[in-house]
């Protein structure tokens, strides 16, 4: 969550609760709602690393609140993160290991593995379908997230088919 908070602070200084709200607003249902404690712990670590700095702001009839802002070092850190390419999905996953190794052990044949995996993927897909239907179309970020997941799943299924054609 470190970089999410840095990114939000790059826009404008904010205190902890504001950050939690901004997170919820930006990601909608696509991101599980963070609890406030977690936000403060992360902010504390960031402050210790010198990426943010906190300033106390006095409030009448309430305790002072801490407003955080990004330091120059924090901005550099954020820039580096955004600029570097993100790793693609892992292909050498567990299922692949099973598929290659299972026949050697004699525990299961590949076709059964593939079939089971396909059903699993389809059931995931079915869940995503349900999810998509339940998600309001105005929730753009959630929609994109779901569609991304579906496309990954479709790719996994296609790959499963290739495995079946070549290994079976």
């Amino acid at each position: 969550m470190r970089l999410h908070l840095l990114a939000l602070l790059a826009k404008e200084p904010a205190h902890g609760y504001e950050l939690k709200q901004a997170l919820e607003q930006t990601f909608g249902s696509a991101y599980p709602s963070p609890n406030i404690g977690q936000v403060y712990v992360t902010l504390g670590r960031l402050e210790k690393d010198g990426l943010v700095r906190a300033v106390d702001v006095e409030q009448s009839n309430r305790p002072n609140k801490k407003v955080y802002y990004l330091t120059a070092k924090g901005r550099d850190h954020l820039t580096t993160w955004v600029d570097e390419p993100t790793e693609g999905p892992r292909v050498r996953d567990e299922f692949f290991m099973k598929l290659v190794l299972a026949p050697l052990t004699g525990i299961a044949d590949r076709m059964a593995l593939i079939n089971r995996q396909r059903r699993h993927y389809l059931s995931l897909m079915s869940d995503l379908n349900d999810l998509l239907n339940r998600t309001s179309p105005s929730d753009r970020v959630a929609m994109l997230l779901i569609e991304g997941a579906m496309l990954h799943l479709q790719a996994d299924l296609d790959w499963l088919e290739r495995c079946q054609e070549d290994l079976a």
Partner: protein, 242 residues
């Protein structure tokens, strides 16, 4: 209640010159009323041939096909045609709307063919187009519609006579993801209303709508099972759980 569709050891062998090319080799399939079955498999696995045989568009080489408790594989081409009018609806990858007829006429045609009075056919057309949200496009030519709209019209046409069985061959194979979503929504809706569907598809999203997935490989059924539905939750939760 008996199965809507049942096949027993269904076989199709094409003759390529002197060499017999088996496309479907002994498929046993049973579809219960209201069930939605997706048929998947790599290209060349015989899925299209199978669904064509189920609708009588292609003759089987051997085996049996039972539709609504009646054996139909022995029917002549003409008898099949008569049967299709009332019992089988077809949806294809390339929509196959009659290019010269308006959208409305395309939807009305099967009803007329089934012997419904012109008045009833007109009413049915109106209600179907209304349900598709295409009432204002009734007088347009199919070519003026987007792919998704065309496929929705094709679906409406296939459902016009309330067939016992809806057969679909890659209905979203030629659509982009947005149009696919439209067609999916419609398919899901008719399925909920109790329509039995057998659909060939490549698209996991479409297949995931089905109750059951049948996997064909090399003309044989290699897997046949229900799709489990388990998870509920927000996008963040479902996807994180993966």
């Amino acid at each position: 209640m008996s199965a809507v569709l049942k096949t027993v050891n269904l076989v199709k062998i094409y003759q390529d010159g002197a060499i017999p090319v088996p496309a479907v080799r002994g498929v046993d399939l049973q579809v219960e009323p209201g069930e939605f079955v997706a048929i998947m498999g790599p290209s060349g696995s015989g899925k299209s041939t199978l669904v064509h045989m189920l609708g009588g568009l292609d003759a089987r080489t051997s085996g049996e096909i039972w539709l609504d408790g009646k054996r139909v594989d022995t029917l002549s081409e003409s008898a099949w045609a008569l049967l299709r009018r009332k019992k089988v609806g077809f949806v294809f990858q390339f929509f196959n709307l009659v290019a010269n007829m308006t959208v409305g006429d395309n939807v009305e045609l099967p009803a007329l063919l089934a012997g419904v009075s012109p008045k009833v056919a007109r009413e049915r057309r109106e209600s179907l187009l209304g349900a598709l949200d295409l009432t204002d496009r009734a007088d347009a030519a199919p070519a003026q519609l987007s792919g998704g709209e065309q496929q929705r019209v094709a679906l409406a046409r296939a459902l016009a006579n309330q067939p016992s069985l809806l057969l679909a061959d890659e209905p979203t194979g030629n659509l982009d993801s947005r149009n696919t979503r439209d067609v999916l929504r419609l398919l899901g809706k008719v399925h909920k209303e109790g329509q039995s569907i057998v659909m060939v598809t490549h698209d996991a999203r479409v297949a995931a709508l089905a109750d059951r997935v049948v996997s064909l490989f090399d003309g044989e059924v290699v897997d046949d099972g229900r799709i489990a539905r388990r998870r509920r939750g927000t996008a963040g939760e479902v996807i994180d759980l993966r």
